[in-house]
Symmetry: C2
Subunit: 606 residues, 2 copies
């Protein structure tokens, strides 16, 4: 508990929850980092597809990037409408469930869950890549660095959302500022005709392997679509904004889209002008920064702030995932404890869950961004599509002012994201998207089975109309003993007066010992009956269980309370020296109906 | 439980224990395999030391072997006297503790514990070496084979001692028979002047590195002394023999010593006559067998029976170790559960303990016999010495008929084993014996700290003369609820009538929900008071704990019983979906004095 306080800070009151609301400036840092940080790898992923055709094909990155920015515009307009319609938080799960029904809702939820985990994994992997581009010596340790980062972000998040915002605002704005400075400097250099410094590195692909087909262009588009992952995050967190929440969230979303679009197009254009090809051990952004500034202060600032915003992106998933998990838990599709608030106003269980799975991915894919990317965008775009489709259905049903315009915007959004989903799913199916396609039904099955269980439980524990609690029933108290000592007398002291029928029970393993105990009992037993049980099998446990079973059979209505005198040591490791039998007894009795276990503690002082 | 029955068989009655006694023939298989199997590696270990001086020095193996057989004779005579004096089982711990005091007893016990573990590890490693000599393809898998063997022997032993005896009698006698057949055939071949087939193998040592000094001869002697490990096992298990136990045990011991001495001298002589040098991937016994029979049926019979008797030796430690552990547990030097008999008349806990540590050694030393040997004999000879010294002191104190003769025998035994212990400890100190020397005090410290704890506990729980149990004290029953359902009503049904002061307690997290519960309570609460607690921190746990603390403070004498309505799912994995709060509550309350935890189960049917 003490360690928990140091690591996580003091608990916060519910009344403080309102003060936890975020200003637009902080909200941009917390909720937009996922989207903004995508520029660190999106252009590179496009180039990685095109280079398979040859260096000449790299110029296609410009039209591909423009197509993606157009898609961004459609998405932003669509999501702004969702923000106004669902000010309490309009995640894909909420919107799909409300308008399309529970199955689309669960599909969206499953897709989102996968993608939150992937956001953490991809962002941390890419952040570590930014670091190892600047410090190649760290390349062999990228998995360890990645795992350490995830655990660090996890701890920060267990502290609560506002502190995360403050903690991360500075690096976000440094990232935005320094990246725009780099793009500006680069543009000036190009216009003034200064030559770029050559970056020498090992090319990631040795020779041309494919022809330039529509499929390759679509694959490049799919890879670039990772730039759009995270744009929906704001719509999940509207309730975290200051009042008026929808307006502030909508403005923040527009700002984010403009910054994201400008940075993405800028990086793609710069990479094209500098004739940059993807390298095995240096990122494209690192190459651009080195070509622009040389390996000096500004270069390192770019790399460090890129790394930090990517870690921020991971952090952003820690805001969204637990919220989704708690929504699902409230609807009984996830374990109910996911809905329990920790004492730092956060959903602690979900945070730990997310961190664990991301660590697994980093470890499994060896911390390699490119290996993780094909799994990434398909879930995001599936949830985009379901959200927009839900909104289309909403406008058709609800109508209201300007509904035709709103329907058109969400309709275009739905069609565009549906097409993108199909493109991403098909062009990347073999490269990893199949894993997501295979996982989706499994996760939904899991949701359903949890739901079915809770429904069955509710049915079983609901009080029927005609049910009236019966009068108190007979209670037989059994105190198993293996000697006469203060712990036993204390348990007896507790049991006396609770029931007319109390029996101390001794299993006769060694007759001499038993005779001695019977004599002591005459003196100390307070008149309570001592039952000595023969034990042909020398198993204390089996003999006791048989006796309890017999007692239950004799009174088919009554309770049997087993009062266990439990010696509790002063130090935890001493537990191995005590209570082994009590533990086994408890384990065995847990499954008996009408048997009530009662522990009477006797605390040792040393 | 069902799986346990299949693997371990049905439980046995105490009355059956007498029938578990072993005939001499079976006892030889169970208790002598440790000693007899040593011939599989003892000669080889002598040669491995001498070869460092050069091939010419190998002939010194004969006098070294004769010295060891003389020591065997002394030991056997000494131990026969122990058998008659301690028919209940005269292990080194018992004899040393009774005659020399608790400290020598604990030293002997610690030494024996180390050696039981090493017996398993060394025997299994050597058994696997016998296998890989015949089937070299298995050499890379020796660690896995070793671990699998230990686990197999462990399961066999959890089934009980007699079945082990029957199971293993056949291979023991095949080993003895086939080895004597090999020695006889070899002797005839040599006398008839037939040339031995040459065995080609990679020599274990490339060149001569040492001069022939007394130290080298003593080291060879030390290595050969591993042949004597296990001769004491019979004296630990006298009580397992049929009546008259001491006589049967003594006769069995003599038979074993004669068989052991003959085989050991025979193998050393044969190795000498065949000019055998130790190989890296084939054992000396395998070389002799191949030279005698060629690679045919008899060769494989020798190898398989050697392997099996070595695994039997491991099994023999499974008989001795748990008996020692239970003796120590009865004296409170080991956790008391070590003295609990499992339901197959064996000491299950000790068996699992032994198997675990042996697996560790096999894994740590890569399954290499030669690496384990230097750790082996020092502990055995230390316990020999303490036993014999104890007997010397016993004769001096007790006297009795022929005591001078008996004193002389044990005296010679004590001096001889003391000298051997010093030789083994010093010549092998650097090669691994230091580990044992370092471990001994740690184990003894561990024994003492367990003992000190149990003594402190006894002192704390002993009933003082003037202590009289007080009259029953007030009991406040608290039933924490989070809703009104059948599980809660069932707990209430149990609690009613047990105390005048019952309170259902609800922590107010969501006011609407709480209001609804209060309304339901009016209908179903059976007139029991419902306390609604405000929770500024939204932590159910903290709020409940504070309330319980308050209640305790208000009545500094009384009990507080926390009755927890516990929903028990039909399937174990469903537990993750329930009772998370109950579990945390129980964990937090465990350390509060005067708080009694009571679980009222509500069993779900699906």
């Amino acid at each position: 508990m003490f360690l928990k306080r140091i690591l996580l800070g003091s608990p916060l009151k519910t009344a403080q929850a309102a003060h936890e609301r975020l200003s637009k400036r902080l909200a941009l840092a917390v909720f937009s980092s996922d989207a903004l940080s995508s520029v660190a790898y999106a252009t590179e992923e496009i180039l990685l597809v095109l280079i398979l055709v040859g260096a000449a094909a790299l110029s296609y990155s410009i039209p591909v990037s423009i197509a993606i920015v157009l898609l961004l515009t459609v998405l932003t307009l669509s999501y702004q409408q969702i923000i106004y319609e669902y000010p309490a938080g309009g995640g894909a799960y909420t919107v799909s469930k409300a308008n399309l029904g529970i199955w689309p809702g669960l599909i969206a939820a499953a897709a989102l869950m996968i993608d939150y985990v992937l956001t953490v994994a991809v962002s941390v992997a890419a952040g570590v890549a930014a670091l190892t581009s600047a410090v190649p010596e760290l390349l062999p340790h990228r998995v360890v660095i990645g795992l350490a980062t995830i655990i660090l972000v996890l701890l920060v998040n267990l502290r609560g959302v506002r502190e995360s915002g403050k903690f991360f605002a500075t690096p976000t704005y440094i990232f935005i500022g320094s990246l725009f400075f780099m793009l500006g400097m680069g543009a000036m250099r190009i216009m003034s005709g200064q030559p770029a410094e050559a970056v020498v590195c090992q090319p990631v692909v040795a020779e041309t392997t494919e022809a330039l087909t529509l499929f390759v262009l679509l694959r490049a588009f799919s890879s670039g679509c990772t730039a759009l992952t995270g744009v929906e995050v704001i719509s999940n967190g509207v309730s975290a904004f200051r009042k008026p929440e929808p307006r502030n969230a909508s403005i923040t979303m527009a700002s984010m889209a403009i910054i994201l679009g400008a940075m993405f197009i800028g990086i793609s254009a710069m990479a094209h002008h500098l004739h940059i090809t993807p390298c095995a051990d240096e990122t494209v952004v690192s190459q651009i920064a080195r070509a622009t500034f040389g390996t000096g202060f500004m270069y390192y600032l770019i790399q460090i702030s890129t790394m930090l915003i990517l870690f921020l992106a991971a952090n952003s998933a820690y805001n969204g995932f637990p919220r989704l998990a708690s929504l699902l838990a409230k609807d009984s599709y996830m374990p109910h404890q996911m809905a329990l608030m920790g004492d730092r106003l956060v959903f602690s269980n979900g945070i730990v869950f997310l961190g664990g799975f991301s660590c697994f991915l980093i470890w499994f894919f060896d911390g390699d961004t490119h290996a993780l990317i094909p799994l990434y965008a398909v879930g995001v775009f599936l949830s985009f599509t379901l959200s927009q489709a839900g909104m289309v259905k909403r406008w058709l049903a609800k109508k209201g002012p300007h509904w035709r315009k709103k329907l058109a915007i969400n309709g275009i959004g739905a069609v565009a994201t549906a097409i993108a989903t199909v493109i991403i799913g098909s062009t990347k199916f073999m490269h990893g998207a199949w894993i997501v396609v295979a996982l989706l039904p499994l996760i939904i099955l899991w949701f359903r089975s949890i739901h079915a269980h809770y429904e069955a439980v509710d049915e079983q524990i609901t009080l029927e109309r005609d049910h009236r609690p019966p009068q108190p029933r007979k209670n037989t108290i059994i105190v198993p003993i293996s000697g006469v000592n203060r712990a036993v007398i204390r348990a007896l002291d507790y049991a006396r007066g609770r029931s007319a029928d109390i029996r101390a029970v001794l299993v006769n393993i060694e007759p001499e010992q038993s005779a001695k105990i019977e004599m002591q009992w005459a003196q100390w037993g307070c008149g309570v009956q001592l039952v000595v049980l023969p034990s042909p099998y020398r198993s204390v446990l089996v003999t006791l269980l048989d006796y309890i079973e017999d007692t239950l059979e004799k009174d088919p209505q009554g309770w049997v309370t087993v009062v266990i005198p439990e010696i509790l040591p002063a130090r935890w490791w001493q537990n191995i020296l005590h209570n082994q039998r009590a533990l086994m007894l408890k384990g065995a009795l847990l499954f008996k109906d009408r048997v009530v276990l009662t522990d009477v503690p006797f605390h040792l002082e040393r």
